[in-house]
Symmetry: C2
Subunit: 444 residues, 2 copies
Amino acid sequence: MKAAVLAIGTELTRGELVNGNATWLSDRLTALGFEVIEHAVVPDDSERVRGTLARFGREVKLVVCTGGLGPTSDDLTAQAVADLAGVPLVRDEHTLARIRERFRRVVGTAVGTGQGAKPRAVPRAMPLNNEKQADLPQGARALDNDEGTAPGFVLQIGGARAYFFPGVPREMQHLFTRYLVPEMTPEVQRTSHQIHIRTFGLRESEVAERLADIDVGGALQRPGVTIGYRAAMPEIEVKVLVRAVDEATAQRLAEQTAAQVRERLGTYAYGGPAYGRGDSFPAFVGRQLREYGLKLAVAESCTGGLLGKLLTDQAGSSAYFLLDVVSYANQAKRNVLGVDAALIERHGAVSLEVASAMAEGVLAKVSADLAVAITGVAGPDGGTDDKPVGTVCFALARRGGKTFAERRQLLGDRERVRLLSAYAALSLIAQAVGSFTKPAGVLP
Amino acid sequence: MKAAVLAIGTELTRGELVNGNATWLSDRLTALGFEVIEHAVVPDDSERVRGTLARFGREVKLVVCTGGLGPTSDDLTAQAVADLAGVPLVRDEHTLARIRERFRRVVGTAVGTGQGAKPRAVPRAMPLNNEKQADLPQGARALDNDEGTAPGFVLQIGGARAYFFPGVPREMQHLFTRYLVPEMTPEVQRTSHQIHIRTFGLRESEVAERLADIDVGGALQRPGVTIGYRAAMPEIEVKVLVRAVDEATAQRLAEQTAAQVRERLGTYAYGGPAYGRGDSFPAFVGRQLREYGLKLAVAESCTGGLLGKLLTDQAGSSAYFLLDVVSYANQAKRNVLGVDAALIERHGAVSLEVASAMAEGVLAKVSADLAVAITGVAGPDGGTDDKPVGTVCFALARRGGKTFAERRQLLGDRERVRLLSAYAALSLIAQAVGSFTKPAGVLP
């Protein structure tokens, strides 16, 4: 069943705002079983709104439209829809009463700043402008919006049922969940299933090469199976989508294919079916540390705190993350991590020796089980013939164990070298965790 | 002159990826003088690609298309364009040679393992898949891509000149800047001028309130002047756009209006005309530290390295950034920063007292002029009645000066609390820098 998404707003076509609504809607519509065949974004321009809606009315069964329902002069969605349908705008008294009531009830922007500040309740009067929001195309059904003043509405346009929602994400999501989901779910027959597999460490073309025999035209390819790729630097997501006669068949086929994909990708695929689709590599590594009951310390230089940031993006990271020393200057390496000045003098700050001393130094500071260190040349300046930009040394120290160090040459600009460095360190942590014994009673 | 933007990719219509490219392109096209009348997003579906391109060829003078130029089977843009134009795909030998050369030149993830290992240059063999990227519609002009393997190309579709770029933002932006900007600038008659002013520390509605008398309908508003807002969490960008009879007039009027805007925003506007538009607040603060010849040390807790990451995103930050201790665990605060265990016991880790001790502790480790510390409850767990989620304490220590500390209640989820905390700390640094004396001979 085909669907299309339309966003209305000159702020979007002028590039002042990212169209996150279309992404959110597409994700939910796809999950409901719709095939989204287009997003369109048009300015606050009645003719283009009408033209696009008329076109979608010929092409799809469901249109979801966001924006242009506000109180100001450039909000023209209701009028454009009425013009397209050849009907007048009619004031909806129920909706008007709701808007009035909302202005009475609602508390203004509550602000707390400074020591001991409390939120303040600020009552608001309804500006006349807002009355306009109760004017809907004749024949439309109003959708009560508990999150804002603009009501949504729904009506038939050509062969499509068209839902109109405000552009404010919270309000749009509220109306989508409250009205569209229960109303449209019975209309869709789900016949597809999708599985996401995340990988790190290969390029997109290398991933594709490993999957060539199960991808389009490959020897193992099954009818109805599509393999897709999404590069989310530096991770790559492989998507196995199956369309079949019914959902159960699609799911079975998707799981078989996903197992083959995982086999081809070996250790480059991480997570596995037990992990959530949203799990990033840092989240995966954090989860591993937690499952093994291990504590980590970090010493960074060129990455400047990025590795710590990625690890602590995860809620609950205090269970495994103890300390990160970003020893950017050599005096910081000496004074905080106890790296010998002579070692830096002899081998340079970017060396296996200094990386090892950093990892061992930070491990000595706290009761961590393992420590990782990064020191490198992120660029754009600071490269030499021996150690060009992108040269990064890593070390992994284990309590009571031998320290491992390696040097890599990473490619790209400063941002990319830093990101790849942090991910390479995460990789070292993941490998090290695998060498510990998993405590009993922990689920896989 | 009208333009349209088309993005191709099922990952977009399935809601797996936000279409940030359309926003970036629209912003730049608007600045060049184009009126962007539509964004469309379609799946990897040749028929829809062809239909949309044909429609745009009737409606606009410029089409910018992103995506579908990769090496995998779902990348079908070149074939769809060739089919629409009724021409075959032709292998472009120059482009093929460039792709091959890129694979030769580029050193793979070279791995040295163990102590004393040397980096190995690992030439990568070009996977056969990548050859496909050199196949372009007959009559198309190839655009050399220095940032990746996929070339762009350009050809006429109906009444429109159509540029095709890879979907990877870095590559797309590179080709846009290198080819489209110089080629299309002479085609557009510029009669507009836009100035961007960045602010931090106010909410969008507070910024709008301060600018009410220069905004639409305000007492100081001039004809042809539009004030726009773009929230780039946690910064807000104010855009002054002027359309006039010619560019010089537009520029003069824009500069007058921008001066008024800066006056209304006071210290909330940062940077000023001397700074690049792209200067983020962290870049601005870093530049200030450098201009004043000051060195900084940082102690973080709930932000986990984010502040260090933001400061070292800037190339050359080693001139002012010495050390960041991310003391996530209390033992790290004690062992590395010398925070008294009794102080933590008495006041809690999130307190003005501990923040002050962290700032003073990290200042003592290196020869920095000032140090900032952050400790707070980022959530979602860990809040108490006294210190709910979003409670964050900051301290700023100066060598030989008094330490300043403050507590703030920040609103939002974990990610937002962390980001606002890092920015609040940057704000403290910026204020502190202003109290030093600027060395002679430094440009404003």
